[in-house]
Each structure stands twice: as C-alpha cells, then as structure tokens.
Symmetry: C2
Subunit: 321 residues, 2 copies
Amino acid sequence: VCVRAGLAKAITLIESELPSDKPFADALLGKCIPCSEGAIFIGVTGVPGVGKSTLLNVMGMELIHAGHRVAVLAIDPSSARTKGSIMGDKTRMDELSQHPNAFVRPSPTSGILGGVSRRTREACILCAAAGYDHIFIETVGVGQNELEIDQLADITLLLLLAGAGDELQGIKRGIMEAADVMAINKVDGENLRTGSQAAAQLRNALALLPPRDSGSRAQVFTCSALEKEQVQALTDHLQLLHANLHEKGVIAARRKKRMVNWMAQRIHDSLLAQLNNVKVREHITEIEQHVFAGQLNPINAADQVLEFMRTNPEIPRAEPE
Amino acid sequence: VCVRAGLAKAITLIESELPSDKPFADALLGKCIPCSEGAIFIGVTGVPGVGKSTLLNVMGMELIHAGHRVAVLAIDPSSARTKGSIMGDKTRMDELSQHPNAFVRPSPTSGILGGVSRRTREACILCAAAGYDHIFIETVGVGQNELEIDQLADITLLLLLAGAGDELQGIKRGIMEAADVMAINKVDGENLRTGSQAAAQLRNALALLPPRDSGSRAQVFTCSALEKEQVQALTDHLQLLHANLHEKGVIAARRKKRMVNWMAQRIHDSLLAQLNNVKVREHITEIEQHVFAGQLNPINAADQVLEFMRTNPEIPRAEPE
C-alpha cells in the first residue's frame, strides 16, 4: 500500500500541468529511467467490449499468484463534453486493483495537449521503477491509438471477438501489423465453434502480411476471460515471447525507438506549452471574440496570434516556465 | 468533371506541406470561407464494419436524384507502418464516386502534425465553395475522433449495429452525446427483430443522457443500407433536422465554435511547423543518435533541442516560412 500511494503521487506529479512541478517531474523521471529496464511492458488493445479489462483482471491475478507484481495503465479516451472518465468498467478489474501487489490506474487523455502517449509512457517508467515487473498498457485499438501502443509497449496483444466476418473486416491493417500476439476472447459456450473458425480465418489472413520486426508472425489464441479458459496459456506465451525477443535484441531495438519517439513528443509538448503563457492566453481570448463575432476569419486570427508571440520577446520561446 | 478536377487540385494545395504553398492556400481558404455557408455539413461516425460507406453511397445517390450535389470526405486513419491507405472499402462508394455531381475523397491523417481535423475542415470549406451543398464527413467513431467530428460538422449521425449488448456497451458516452441522430444499420432479413429491440434499448439509454445543445435528444432510426431500406427516411430527417436547427440558431452557434477551434488548430500547427526548419531537423537527427546509443535520456535530449531552438535567432519563431 505504501509503494502504491507513493507511486500514485509520483504519477500525479508527472501529470501536473504546473510549470513549477516540471523540474521535479523531469528529475524524477531521469532517475527512474535506468531502474525501469527490468520490467516487461505489454500493450493490450481491442475494440470496446472485447473484454480487455476482464482479461487483464484474470491475467494479472495469475501473474501475482506466480510471484509477480502487476501494473495496469488504462488509456481512457475521456469524453470532452462531460470531462468525466468513462471507465466505469474499471470495476471489471476489482479483484486485481484491490490486491496489494497490483497497481491499476486509468490514464486520462487530456484533449489536444500531450495526447495519449506521453503521460502513459512516463507513468510506465515510474511503475517499473517502483518494482512492478509486468506493466500492461490497455487501450482502445481503433482509430489512431493502435499506432501509439507499439510505441509504448515491448510487445502488443490484440484482443478480438469471434463472430461474423464483420469483426475481422473491422480490424485495420495497421493494428494487425502492430500486434505480436492475437487472442479471440469470449470463446465459450455457444461460441466455441465460431471461435475456432475465426482463429483459423485469422491465421490465414496473417500469412498474407509481412512478418514483424521480430521476423515472425503473431500467434493466434482463443480464450475466455470470463470462464478463465486458456488465459494461462496466453500469459505463458507472452512471457516466453518476451524472453525470446529479448534474447534476439528485438526488445532493445524497440525500446531505443521508443526513447527517440519520447524525445520528439516532449519537444512537441514544450512548443505547445507556450500557449499556456498568461499573456498569450489573454491575447487568444481577445482574438477569439472577433472570430466569434464573425469579424475575423480563423486563418487571419491565427496569424495575428502567432505574430503577437513572435513580437513579444518576454514570452518564453519554447519552455513552459 | 471540370469542377471536380479543380477542387481536387485545390485540396492538394491546402494539404501541401511546402512553405511556399502556404500563402496561396491561405488566400484561397480566406476567399472560400464566405462562400461555404450555404452547405449542409453532416458527420457520419461508427465503428469499422458498421456500413458507413455503403450508407453514404445510397444516401448520396438519393440526394443527387433530388437535385443536390454531394461531397464525401472520409477521414482515414492510415497505417503508420505501411504508410498506405486502408480505405480499400472506398469501392463501396463506387456508384457515388463516379457520378458527375459527387465528389468523394479520403482525407489521410498525417501522423502527429495537424491530426485529423485541420485538413478535413479546410477541404470541407473548399467543397462547399465549389458548389457541393451536402458535405458528409465520414470517420471511425471510436477513440478520439468522435470528439473531433462534432467540431467538423453541423450535425452528426452515429451508425450502430444491432446485436447483443456488446455493441451498445461499446459505445462511449462521448459519442452518444455528440450524435444528433442515430441509426442502427444492417436491420434486414434475420436481423429485423434484434434491430428493433436494439433501437428500443437505445432510446431508453438516451433518455438518461442530457439533451444536446439543440435542446432535444437524438432520434433513433433502423435501416439497411445494403437493401436500401429506410435510408430515404433517414436522409429526410437529417435535412429536416438541419433546417430546424438552422432556424433556431443552433447551426450558427456550432459554426462559430468551429471557427474558434479552427483558429486554435492553426496556431498549434504553426508552432509545430518550426520543427520542419532544416537546421532544427539536422540538430534533432544528431541528438537522436545520442539517444539511440543510450548516451542521453529523452528528457535531457528534448531540453537540448529546445535550447538550440531558443538560442538560434535565425530560426523562425512560429512560422513555417
């Protein structure tokens, strides 16, 4: 509990938008990076309703019983309108989140600034440094996020549903290509037959794709998180695959790419953080009134704001402080 | 055909990353904004496989037969790895895209810079100025995009599939709240009963949500795009709703918000465009080598790049030129 409380506070610090918190957050992260290398980072992606949380609850408890410490960071595409979190389904990780050897945290995405990955990436580092050896990053894998998940994790698991061709058709090629392992979930009861059919279909489809950077193609599993069927086999495979890719140097290569990507993201965020300057914000608010009144088009309005930023030397150029 | 070719070239111009194209693109957009006000902008969202393209093909042809000119801009979350477009399903709009009174174009999202909405927003303006009176913006509505679609369109249609509770559970509250109209598609043959059940269930769920800014809740339709069943009713409702919201001033209010949002996006894009400067790019490449070699952590690396940008006055401060 003590580690968890400290970790939660550390994550709150790195998530802070306050310029005065930034030096502390950066120093903490710098210290934690070298201590994070021993952990296994696993991305879990799939459409809403596919059973990611239920699976992670079962998988996490199995790992804990085998002596591991498990963290789950769930990327939560919050509703911009309600400003609320929509992860009511975190109750599906009740058992895991209450276990002292687990740490479960939704990682809200905060609109335009920063986006999905920076905060989650940094939270992962802190979790690993805090001694969690299996870090799961859970994300909705439709749209843009799937492109980000393999920039966050060492290996990626794509969860799918059995069923008609629709579900398979819905899988975008980008997600297929980013997955190291695939599992068809909810293969229980009446779905046993359609589940194994879907698995066969998927294996055929995968054979047509180029192999990943690891040189091999994703293995396809069927499981039922609800019935706790075949989850252990999936967990074993994930661990084995990670060990195998680690030995081959693939994990190290992916991590290096992640570090370069992280740098690029911090540069982006800092450039945009100039917009948080009080004077700039006041100017934008004023210009917005003219746009809202229809007196100024958005193109000229943006140019005026940029000109203001350029000609006011007291505004920090590329730093939030 | 002549209008279409010119429009396609104009869109290519505004999509250009070349600094020398920017003044022309901006001038063109500035001219087009006042001419775009007569068009109806309709967002169409839903998970992959729900039948958005098939529906738009039918809906578009119906509108054309009623004397309208129809544009469809499809936001395409491209695979970052293959760099290729995954809109093979654009063949589902074959009939529409070949009609002289239609203009169909995928609007690729280009990774981090700009994101989904700027280019699509600007392409919409050009389509409207070119005389298309119904502009549809098609997007995958899971994840972040749903938050953007109501910043692009006057009204938003959410397409759903009938079926078990899974699909409904998968709808995030943010999407529900952003939709002005909902339609359950593929309600044909064996799905007729489950379709009307799903519609009833959805109406009950909607009653629990706050009404939109229009003061009313989304109406729920069932249809079959494949069988062309009930699509006309849906089209009629969309037109009627738009006229109604226009009269109430809701459309004007939403458009003003879009303009302010557009301005903010152009400011963001310009700030990030500094990274395209040749000297900055060279410096980043150099620093990346150190990160890749493990000699420098991403935090310190980003700070070094920002410091370089700050201390080199010849680098334009907030302009791509």
